[in-house]
Amino acid sequence: MEKAAKAGLLKSSTDNGAGGLSSSIGELAEITGGAVVELGNAPLKYHGLQPWEIFVSESQERMSFVVEPDKKDALFDMARDFEVEVTDIGYFTNSGYLDIRYKEERAAYLDLDFMHNAVPKKYMEAEWKTPELQEPGIVDADNNDILLQLMGSLNICSKDPVIRVYDHEVKGKTIIKPLMGENGNAPQDAGVIRINHKDFTGVAVSNGIIPRYGDIDAYEMSAGSFDEAIRQIIAVGGKLPNPNEKDGIFWTVNDNFCVPDSLYDENKNPDGKYKLAQLVKMNEALYDMATYFNIPLTSGKDSMKNDFKKGNVKISVPPTILYSMAAKIDDVRKTITSDFKEAGDVIYQVGKTYNELGGSECYALFDVLGANVPKVRKDDAKRIYDKMAKANEQKLIASAHDISDGGLAVALAESAFGGNKGCSLSISETEIGVLAELFAESHSRFVVSVPEGKAKDFEKLFDKDCKKLGFVNNEDNMTIIIEGEEVINSKIRDLFEAWGKGLRK
C-alpha cells in the first residue's frame, strides 16, 4: 500500500472494520452519491456465504481502495509482484443508490440519503446526583508496608513480562522505550520515536487512563486522564503547543471510551440516567481540556454497551476513558529519561500536593474509595509545564518522572530503579498529613533530579512551583523524613523485588 500510494495509484483507501464492506463502501459512496458493488467478485475463504454475509462480514486484514480506471492495471501488476490479492468489486456512481448485486441477482438497493440520514434521533435523559462519599480515617498506617504493597499492586507493578514479549525496537527508531537504564529496569513515562534515520525529529506518545476516579467524579476522571497524558509527554521533554508561536510543535489526541449502557430502563438499567450524566461530564472535561491546552482530537473510538448480565447479576464497567496523545519532538537527543543519574543530584518535587487521596491506589489497599478526588488545576498545570520545557531547554534536568498512581513515594522508588541508586529526602512541614504527602495522586506533578551545579538556576526558574526534597545517593535505600519523623525507610532492593513480581503472582 505504501508503494502504491507513493506511485499515485490509490485515490483513497479505508480499512474494513465494524460492518466490513457495508461500512467502508457505504461511507465512500457518500462522496460520489452512489456505488455499484458486485459481491460475487469478492474472494471468499469458503463456499456458502450469503450475499448479506459477504457484505457485512468483518473478516480482518482487508482494505477498500478507490482507484481511477487508468491506474487499475499498474496497481494490479504491483499487487501481483507483492503477492497481495486485489479484486475489482465495483465502481462509484452518482445514482443516489447503493446498488448491491450478487452475480445476476439484485441483493440490495438502498437510497443513500435514507441510509445515512434517516436514523431517528434518540433522546436520552441524564441526571447527575453527587454521590455521598466520605474520607476514611486511616490511622496508624505502616507507611513502609503501604509502599511495598503499592509497588506490587497491579496498576503500579512492573509490566516487564508483557513489554518483553513484543518488539518495541523494530525500525531502529525507538529513543525512549518502556524500560531503560543500565539494566533495562527503569520505567519511562512516554514513548519517543524518531521519524527517520537522518535527522532527529521525533514523536512522543503517551496514554492517560484513571478509571478509579470515575466512581467519585466522572468529570475529574476524564480531566485527570487528559492531564496524565500531557504530563507524560512533558516528563520526557515535550513542549506544550502554542498557537501564537510558529514553532511547528503540534500535539494531537485520540479518545477511547469504554462505558456501560447509559439508556435508562426502569427494570434493566435503573441507574441509566446517572451513567449518562457521567458520560456527559466525561465529555465536558474532554472539551475543557482540549480547548484549553490546544490539543485537537483527531480520532477516537467508543464502546458504549459494556455490561455483563447473567441471570440476576449485572456487572457494568466503570466509565473509562483512555487518552492517547502524540506530540512532535524537535530533537529526540534532548529528551529526558526518568531514572536518577548520579549521586549528589538534587531531588525536587515540581507541582503541589493537595489532600487528595480519593480514588487513590493507597486507599484501594484499604478497600476504601474516599471523597477527595484529585482535581486538575489547568492554569497551574500550564505554568508548570511551560517551566519544565524551559528547564529542559536550559539543560537543567538530569531526570524527570511524572507522579501518578501511588503518588510521590512510588515515583521516587521508580526513579531509583534504573541506575542502582537510592535517595534521602525530607519535607519540613505539611498541611495535608503524611499519608497525602506520600501517596496522594494530585495532578501535574513531577519528581525531578538536577545536577548540583544547576540547582540554583532550577530553583530560580520554578520558584514556588518546586520544593527541594533531598539528594540522590548510591545507597540501597530510600528514606523520607516528614516534620522530623522518619516515615519511610525502605530498601530499594525490596521495593524493586515487589515491583518486579507484581504480574507474576
Binding site: F82, D167, V170, K171, F200
Partner: protein
C-alpha cells in the same frame, strides 16, 4: 561506491533500518521485493553485498524462516535458472551475505551457515527460545578473536551491546563433528556474555539458551555472516537503553551506535578490494 542490496517482502520488516546503515556510511542501498529478483528485473550480481533483514516472513508458519529458506533454496526464476545457483556464483565471485534474525534463520535453514560440508546441508538450526517466549531485550556480545569474517574485522573492538527481538533464537548443533569444526575454525564469531564479558548460558544475558552461547555464525570463507541480535537497530547512540546515563557520564560521547561497526567493516573491506 559500495552497493548493498536489502531484500524485503512476505513479512520481512527490518529493511528500512538495514538500508539506512549503509546510507549513513556513504554506501548505496537498494531495497527490493524478493519477487523482483525472482522475476529477474534485477540481479544480485549487480551488488556487492546481499542483506537478509529481520521480520516475520510467512508469519513464522512451520518455523521461523522455513518457508523463506525453501524459497531461496528451490526457487526457479523467470528464465528457468535456480536462485540458489545465483547465490553460489555470487559467493564464488567473492561477494558477501549478511542475515539478521529472520535472515540468520533463513541462512541456517538453507544450509548456507555454517556450511562446513560445503554442499548447503543444514548443519545447525535456530529454534524456540529456552524461555518459551518472544524476547525483546538488550544483550552484550563478545567477538571471537582471530575470527575469519570481515564483518567483525576491527580488532580494536572486542564486544558490543545489541538489541535482540526473537522467539526462535536458540542455536542447536546437529552433532559433535559440526560442533568441533565450528570451534576449531572459530565460526562462532559472536557470543552472549554476562556484564563481566564472560560467555554465559544464564538467562537473560543469554536470551535464548543457544549452544556455545552463540549469537552469530560465519561460514569458513567468512563471506557469509548471520546473527540473531540486530546491529541495524543500534546505529545511533540514542538507540541504547542507557543513552541518557552514558551521555551524563561522558557528554562528548560519540553519537554513533555500536552496531555501525559491522557495516563499517564490510564497506571498508569491499572498498579495499575495488
Amino acid at each position: 561506491m559500495v552497493k548493498a542490496l536489502v531484500v524485503t517482502g512476505f513479512g520481512i520488516n527490518c529493511e528500512e533500518e538495514m538500508a539506512a546503515a549503509y546510507q549513513l556510511l556513504g554506501a548505496e542501498a537498494t531495497i527490493l521485493h524478493l519477487n523482483e529478483l525472482f522475476q529477474e528485473r534485477d540481479s544480485i550480481h549487480n551488488y556487492d553485498i546481499l542483506n537478509f533483514p529481520g521480520g516475520f516472513s510467512f508469519g513464522d508458519d512451520i518455523g521461523s524462516a522455513k518457508v523463506l529458506a525453501n524459497k531461496f533454496k528451490f526457487k526457479k526464476m523467470h528464465s528457468g535458472k535456480l536462485f540458489i545457483d545465483e547465490i553460489s556464483k555470487f559467493l564464488k565471485d567473492g561477494k558477501y551475505i549478511i542475515g539478521v534474525c529472520n535472515g540468520f534463520q533463513a541462512l541456517v535453514k538453507m544450509g548456507l551457515l555454517p556450511n562446513i560440508g560445503g554442499n548447503y546441508e543444514q548443519e545447525v538450526t535456530l529454534t524456540n527460545n529456552a524461555s518459551g517466549k518472544f524476547e525483546d531485550r538488550w544483550v552484550h556480545c563478545s567477538i571471537t578473536p582471530d575470527n575469519p569474517t570481515p564483518f567483525l574485522s576491527d580488532k580494536s573492538i572486542t564486544g558490543m551491546d545489541l538489541p535482540v527481538r526473537h522467539g526462535e533464537g536458540k542455536l542447536i548443533i546437529r552433532d559433535d563433528e559440526i560442533r568441533s569444526a565450528i570451534l576449531e575454525k572459530k565460526l562462532n564469531v559472536l557470543t552472549y556474555t554476562d556484564k563481566e564479558g564472560n560467555s554465559t548460558v544464564d538467562y537473560p544475558a543469554n536470551p535464548n539458551g543457544s549452544e556455545l552461547n552463540c549469537a552469530g555464525l560465519c561460514d569458513i570463507s567468512g563471506q557469509v555472516f548471520g546473527l540473531m541480535p540486530h546491529p541495524e537497530a543500534y546505529l545511533s547512540l540514542y538507540n541504547h537503553p542507557d543513552w541518557a546515563g552514558k551521555k551524563r557520564t561522558n557528554p562528548n560521547i560519540s553519537e554513533d551506535g555500536e552496531g555501525m561497526m559491522i557495516f563499517r567493516n564490510i564497506i571498508s573491506k569491499i572498498e579495499s578490494k575495488n
